[in-house]
Each structure stands twice: as structure tokens, then as C-alpha cells.
Symmetry: C2
Subunit: 291 residues, 2 copies
């Protein structure tokens, strides 16, 4: 089964567990809307790629870890779009959850998705309980305090922010959780995979900042210009577009250099380069730096 | 060590993990405010009492389970108080988290508390990984979809609600998770402990509905009259105060009858009766029924 099919099947399975007839229909629909159709699913893709490089001897656990990571990511998007944060009306080219279902169901859908992520892991963990504590701890670190997504978003509420701390928490933490979870799920040592996720995550956040300034909102599927409008920490604002493009290229370079020696190193190289090109094409980077 | 000290120590330990210097100070303070000083800590108390009845052979895991349950409860209170739900300015006699720290940090503190609950379990689960999957699944069921707290709150967004479904999800689910988690943490069979938690939780919700109408808000530490103002499902509104008092007494009777045969049955009887008296004194019940 190809990776896309694995991820979608795992996510459908996770949602089916919770959306039984006894569930309030509005909540079930809001959660469904938050997860399907998805975006690039880059985090679960990364998780499965690392698990594969490490032998993937427990594919059900890998799938659960991948699904859990995507559910946590979707939860963060739903809460990010709330009126008190970005007040975004669109996400992935459709109405955001708060726009389609109201603010209350958006809060609850985010909460339910966080819980569902851990529930999905718990269910799959029955077969390999020894791998569960480290997997859980890794995922929780990616989204909680002091350095996960919630902390990253909370830096937006502070008068002074270090851009690197902010980006590392808001995006890098879940990316490194994704690579490390892939290793844990396969029963491998996870530490060597931390850096790849962290660099890629930081690159992803810088790309997001660049795209918020230069992209066509229709192509992006969400409004642009939000960082400036909301006074949010942004690489584009802090370094200029050229500086941000240079930073993006440097981070991708670090990501490539941090791929651990393994038989599938070439595959990871190709994956990182393809992702880099999808986020901010080399040609665009060149133009921004030259401008 | 007495139970109160065990619970507070476990909660302090859980928060200390996340509140290291790298954490955004606003988020750390909001989470601290949400958990300390606490309320009656009835759910963790129940969890520890059941673990004790089942031998409590892994007290660190019991403490983690008790702390996790209280963290999940605190998270639900923080999100419940948000402007889009109860818009409560007070909680436990002090400003609510949203009032003291703003709406954004209240959303994030709730998210971080949910994550912290699972993180706390994961850390303690390293020593008894075989008990972890069932513990996790039990807690997740208490707060997620289709029948946990998030679902209970989501019933408030539906045009039609069955009062029993609503109460069972909004309060009963975490109470039965508390009793069952106590059994799981001690390596015992959890099913016999489900009913005690469920009945007690439902009784607790009915008591809350009654107190929302009759209590002195200063004594209660939070505003009263919110159910009617917000058009929320309420036993007092649906059955009248006398009917609600009768329902409360019936539920406490069911809770007493559902205590599994065990050497500590008398202790549980005393605990349920003391809790019942604290919630709605017998004398008050009598007056409400006679009126």
C-alpha cells in the first residue's frame, strides 16, 4: 500500500472510532471537516519514511503514530483559526472550522482531536506496550509545554519573542516529533532522527512566513498577509524577504546534512528536496535574494 | 502520606515538568492558575481510593493517573469559562483563567493541560508499560468523542439534547474514568468500578444544576444562574428543584448500591455519603422536595 493510502486509512480509522452514533453530530462533522480533505500530510509522511528506514516491523503502530501526529497538527490549525488568534475564515481552500461550525465547536473539535491522537496511539500500543511510553512522550513534547506547539503559539502572547525559539516551538517541535516517532514505532533509537525533523520544521515555518507575503491566496487556500496584520513574529518581517529566502535555503541545507547514514539516505535527500521545491521553489528563492 | 498531599504533590510534579525556563511565562502562569489552588479534587480522590481498594501496588502510576484526571478536569473548566461558552469571570472564588490571562492563553492553557495529562501518564507508564494502554484508553474515553467531556459540551451546541446523555458525557464520563483508572493503575479488573463513577458523576452534575439555582455565589466561588442565562440543559430547569433533588437522592442511592464488594466497601460508603452531604445537604434536599 502506498504511503498516502496508509495515512488516509489510518486517519479514517481514528475518526471512525469516535464518530459513532452516540456522538453529538455537530462535533463529529467539525472533526471530519478539520481532517478531510487534508493538506500535504508532510508530518505523517515523514514519520512513515523514518519508520521504513528503521525496518517498520510494527506497521500498525507506525500508522497510529503517523495518524496521531496529523491529528495533533489538525487540532493546532483549528485552534489557530479561532477568532481570538488568526480569525481565519478559510483553510485549505474551504471555510475554516470556526467559520463553518462556529467558535464553540471549533474549540471542542480541537480538544477532541488532541484526545483522539493519544487514543489512537493507545489502541495500537496494546500490541507493543514497551514502545508506547517513549512514543507518547515524544508526541506530547511536540505539542505541549515547554517547547511544543501550544508553547509556540503562546509566544505570540508575549511582549518579546526570540524568532528562533518561536519557530522551533510552533513548527519544529512537531516535525522532530514526527521523525522521532517513526523511529520509536519501529523500535529503533530515535535521537539520530531529531535534527532532520527540527531543521525541516524550521524551514517549513520560514517558508510559511515567505508565502504569507508573496503567495496568491487562491493557490495557497488561505488568506495571506496575516502575519503583518496580526503583528506576529515572522522571518519575512524580521529578515526581509531576501533574508528569509537565504534562511530557508540554509535550513534546507542543514536538513539535508542531518540525514542519518542509512540505506535509504538517498530517498530522504529526494524527499527533502522535493518538499523544499514545493514550499519555495529554488527559482523564487533566487529572485527574492537578488531583489 | 495522606491522599490530599499525594494529589497535590503529583500535580506539582506534573506542572514542574512543563514549566521549565524555556516555557513562555504567560502560558506557565495560566496553567499554574488553572490547577492551584484546586477545588475538592474529588476525581483524583476517587481514583486513589479505588486503587487503594485494589492493592495500590504501583503508587507512582496511581498518582500519575490521579493527576492526569485532575489536569483533564482543569482543562475542561478553563475552556468552559471561555467567552464563547460560559464567559465566566470567576472560578473557585478567583478570576477565571480567561479573565486573568486573556482568551488566547486560556485556549492554549486548556490545550497544554490536556497534553500534560497524557504526558504525565506516559512518564509514569515507563515502569509498568503493560498497564499503560488501558489506562490511556480509559482517560481518553472520559474526555473525548463520542461520550467524553468534549462531547458533553458539544451537546450544548445541538438543538435537541437528551438530559441523561448530556450529563453522562459532561460529568459522568470523567468520574467513571477516575474509578476505572484507579483499578487499572493497580493492575486490577476495571469494569466493576465503572458504575460507581458513572452514578456519582451524574449525581454531581445534578447537584451542580441545583446549586446554580440556589447557592450563594460567594460561597460557591463562581457566578450562579448561568444555566438559565445560557439556556443550557439543566436538571433544575427540566425537573424543577424538587424533581432535581429527588433525582440527586436517587443517583446517590444508585452510587451506594454499585460499590463492588471489597474489604473497603464501608470506606466507599462513607466517602459517597460525605460527598453527597457536601454537594447538597440532606436537609436542603428535604426542603426542596417538600416545597
Amino acid at each position: 500500500m502506498d504511503v498516502t493510502a496508509r495515512i488516509e486509512r489510518a486517519l479514517h480509522g481514528a475518526l471512525a472510532e469516535g464518530s459513532t452514533p452516540g456522538c453529538p453530530p455537530g462535533l463529529a462533522a467539525a472533526v471530519q471537516h478539520a481532517v478531510f480533505p487534508g493538506g500535504a500530510r508532510i508530518r505523517p509522511r515523514l514519520c512513515i519514511a523514518v519508520a521504513h528506514a528503521c525496518g517498520d516491523d510494527s506497521p500498525a503502530l507506525t500508522d497510529a503514530a503517523a495518524a496521531a501526529i496529523e491529528l495533533l497538527h489538525c487540532a493546532s490549525l483549528v485552534h489557530d483559526d479561532l477568532p481570538c488568534f488568526d480569525d481565519a475564515a478559510e483553510r485549505r481552500g474551504r471555510p475554516s472550522v470556526q467559520k463553518a461550525f462556529g467558535e464553540r465547536l471549533a474549540v471542542l473539535a480541537g480538544d477532541a482531536l488532541i484526545v483522539m491522537a493519544f487514543q489512537t496511539l493507545a489502541a495500537a500500543g496494546m500490541q507493543a506496550p514497551n514502545r508506547l511510553p517513549a512514543l507518547l512522550a515524544t508526541l506530547a513534547r511536540g505539542v505541549g509545554m515547554p517547547h511544543g506547539i501550544a508553547a509556540g503559539q503562546a509566544w505570540e502572547c508575549e511582549p518579546r519573542v526570540d524568532l528562533h525559539d518561536y519557530q522551533r516551538a510552533k513548527t519544529g517541535a512537531l516535525f522532530s516529533a514526527a521523525t522521532m516517532a517513526g523511529a520509536h514505532a519501529a523500535g529503533a533509537v530515535a535521537a539520530p532522527w531529531h535534527a532532520l525533523g527540527a531543521w525541516l520544521g524550521e524551514a517549513y515555518q520560514v517558508a510559511d512566513d515567505i508565502r504569507d507575503v508573496i503567495a496568491d491566496p487562491r493557490a495557497l487556500g488561505k488568506p495571506t498577509g496575516r502575519d503583518a496584520a496580526l503583528g506576529r513574529p515572522s522571518a519575512a518581517a524580521q529578515l526581509g524577504l531576501g533574508g528569509a529566502a537565504r534562511s530557508f535555503q540554509r535550513l534546507i541545507g542543514h536538513a539535508l546534512a542531518s540525514i542519518p547514514p542509512c540505506p535509504r539516505a538517498a530517498h530522504f535527500r529526494a524527499l527533502v528536496l522535493a518538499e523544499s521545491e514545493r514550499l519555495v521553489p529554488q527559482a523564487v528563492c533566487g529572485e527574492l535574494i537578488a531583489a
